[in-house]
Symmetry: C2
Subunit: 458 residues, 2 copies
């Protein structure tokens, strides 16, 4: 049977597949920091070379930011668009890493072998599961699987400024019958997941200015407004005592969870205590009266991602700073309007400013939440294919993260997405010591082979 | 007349006095940052050389931190101890300086010539007014003025960790009939001041930890406690809506302003609008119902001097940080107990922590406020001497700042202090573009000659 042959080929090639992933992981493609422009380009070029060698018609497509990589294999059958991103999160605080984040290595852990490096899970390891599935397919059958386009982005971790213009400009080329997106996780190490609900996102980076220069608190402490004090008061007012967000209209469009989804989630073997315990916590800190799964999958949140102002070095400096800044993001669900919420947040800040204070906003692109059409036949085929590979049956899951690409594919390419990924909750993505389980990588490659087989040959 | 001769000598030497001050200002003696240990030692050595050349018995006295400089001139008459500090504040944010903070220069400004450099006013320019007064005295009379000891510290801007042990160990040597401290300001550019009330200080630098690592807000946003959110809530709770500080017992020992002091302050030509307008503000932000002078001179404050946590670089990173930190200081007055207030603040934070959060404290040494004995005869003599030099009569003033040395001199040397300084409100001390008016420097030198004459010869 051909499928078995391809799977065996993938097994035989796994050492090479790890080595190729390591090559990609060594490239410091941090997209959010302008200092890393060269490595981002190098990662794109590396992918173009790999894909060309595999027989794709691959090219680097420059943008005003980091380049896109697009690769085609024309064939009969449904057009499938695969998406991943080659850029990675910054690595600070670097001193919390046990090793250089850009020197990937295989490590033995109590949970099995893992690949340790920035981007191992998010998203280089994940995108390479698909590339290596194609490689095994080609090696076993002499051709690439079906009518495929690969699209790799280099700005996913920095708000994707070039994405929408690129999709608009290349819609005819990229439009597909189905998109496959590999940037999500398993339900647990033995249970694959197809993510069908994604939270949206509104982001704001802002600075409050009070006095027109830094002041000495001995001379001005008291009468001079302190922008850090203003900022803390504004941020502290974002949640009430029950953990609900106080912005007017914030919960407009937040749906009640359908009873059948609630029941299916209640039935999942999710251990909230362990989920929190894994990161040193014991009590859920979100909205009161909601389960932990609801808090991360179906409820909107407001997170302060960063704050800074005044003197932050060693020792003391009795300064009254001129400026204080913060980065705040909102995870959105259902029909919440991301742009309206961003405006509502700006209005709240502006209305909360005392006299003599001003604010400057540097917002990100708002993205609404997405729910995918789980009764489409492709979902059933993919679910069956994943269930064949893993110990447990695949589940339809929510996802706390925001993958704006799904909304953009729908809006600009009229293409729905199937979200399949092999990350685990303890992968430390966006944190020090990111890893990707070797099993995720190996069985991820095998999973795509099965999914491609299911989608293209029946 | 001898006094006139000495003053004329000082006038004749002013160019050299500026040049010598520039030499000292070029030394980057930032005490709070361990990277500047060498320049701090170099500043101490520079002073020892200057004072030795002037005929003082001067020496560098090493401590476990930055060294002290002590210089004696033995003579008959009352023993006078002069204090200043040769260390300076850090210079960040460096990009807000119009020139290198350690390349002093004379600049023409609408308010007259100024000396622009870090430490020009706080406190190198100020301490050099006294050294140059001694130089003129020696040049004009052949001897130094009276029975004087000079004590220069190198850790004033970093909490003075070595000071108390040094005073204790050398109390017999340093004990004096009167201390002169030059680290305060004028009332305005034409009105000298003797500062008679100093606010005390409690400082706390602390870190709140929630999750044991940085998390991805897409995965944990909602159920995982965010320490920045905890920190902002704690800091926002420090003041009520009227600007009063909410810590239990905080106002214990805060005296009502005596009616005669209140009257004398009301009579001062203090322009609150201009004081605030100079730094881009229009409305006093301190305790409601208190005048701006009360807010800076006689009322206690709580200031957030710095805050940091999470991602603070360019762009966005949807991190839920493990830690968030702040530096908070309290200016204290009257009989407020600085140690009790520090403990009360720690208790407030600890009691405010939600489950799964912990706090680590890195406090500074608490110092109580001081009121000086303004009816002692030395105060009248010094006031008359200052009034002779400047256009307006000298005033007895409060001071928003904390000069813990005054309390320490009283406690460890049983010596009261006369606080005379020539800084101006717009000197930008602790801020970018610090300056010292050339008039402050020149007439400061002349003022000390007059004060020394009044204290030692009548």
């Amino acid at each position: 049977m051909t499928l078995d042959t391809i799977l065996r080929t993938a097994d035989a090639q796994i050492d090479g597949a790890v080595s190729r992933l390591f090559d990609l992981l060594r490239i410091e493609s941090i997209s959010t920091d302008p200092a890393y422009e060269e490595p981002c380009r190098a990662a794109a070029d590396w992918l173009v070379r790999e894909l060309t060698e595999l027989g794709f018609d691959a090219s680097r497509r420059d943008t005003t930011g980091h380049p896109m990589v697009v690769a085609h294999h024309k064939a009969d059958g449904p057009h499938i668009l695969f998406y991943g991103h080659y850029d990675v999160q910054p690595v600070d605080p670097l001193d919390l890493w046990d090793k250089d984040p850009f020197h990937p290595a295989l490590e033995d852990t109590p949970g099995g072998k893992v690949i340790r490096a920035r981007g191992a899970s998010d998203d280089k390891g994940q995108l390479m599961t698909f590339v290596e599935a194609c490689r095994a397919w080609k090696a076993a059958t002499g051709t690439l699987p079906g009518n495929i386009t690969l699209l790799f982005e280099g700005e996913e971790e920095s708000g994707s400024p070039s994405l929408i213009p690129f999709l608009k400009a290349n819609a005819e080329e990229l439009k597909a019958d189905l998109a496959l997106v590999c940037d999500t996780g398993m339900f647990d190490a033995e249970t694959p997941a197809i993510t069908t609900m994604l939270r949206g996102m509104a982001q704001e980076d802002f600075t409050i200015t009070g006095p027109d220069r830094d002041l000495h608190s001995g001379m001005y402490g008291g009468p001079a407004i302190n922008p850090i004090r203003v900022l803390t008061r504004i941020l502290a007012g974002l949640h009430d005592d029950t953990g609900r967000i106080t912005l007017p209209g914030f919960y407009d469009g937040v749906p009640d969870l359908p009873a059948e989804v609630q029941e299916s989630w209640d039935a999942l073997p999710f251990d909230a205590e362990r989920f929190l315990g894994d990161v040193g916590l014991s009590e859920p800190a979100g909205e009161q009266g909601r389960s932990v799964l609801e808090q991360i999958w179906s409820r909107p949140t407001c997170d302060i991602n960063g704050i800074w102002g005044g003197y932050t070095g060693a020792g003391f400096k009795t300064v009254l700073p001129s400026k204080a800044s913060a980065k705040v993001s909102f995870r959105l669900v259902g029909e919440q309007d991301a742009a309206k919420i961003q405006q509502s947040f700006r209005d709240y800040i502006t209305d909360s400013l005392p006299p003599d204070c001003s604010v400057e906003f540097r917002g990100g692109d708002p993205a609404n939440a997405t729910t995918l059409p789980i009764d489409a036949p492709e979902f059933a085929k993919a679910r069956a294919a994943l269930s064949d590979e893993w110990p447990n049956e695949a589940v339809f899951a929510g996802c706390g993260g925001s993958i704006p690409i799904v909304g953009h594919f729908r809006t600009y390419l009229e293409t729905d997405s199937l979200l399949i990924g092999f990350g685990l909750d303890d992968d430390n993505i966006h944190s020090p010591n990111e890893k990707y389980s070797l099993t995720s990588y190996h069985k991820g490659i095998r999973s795509w082979i099965r999914v491609l087989d299911a989608l293209t040959t029946s």
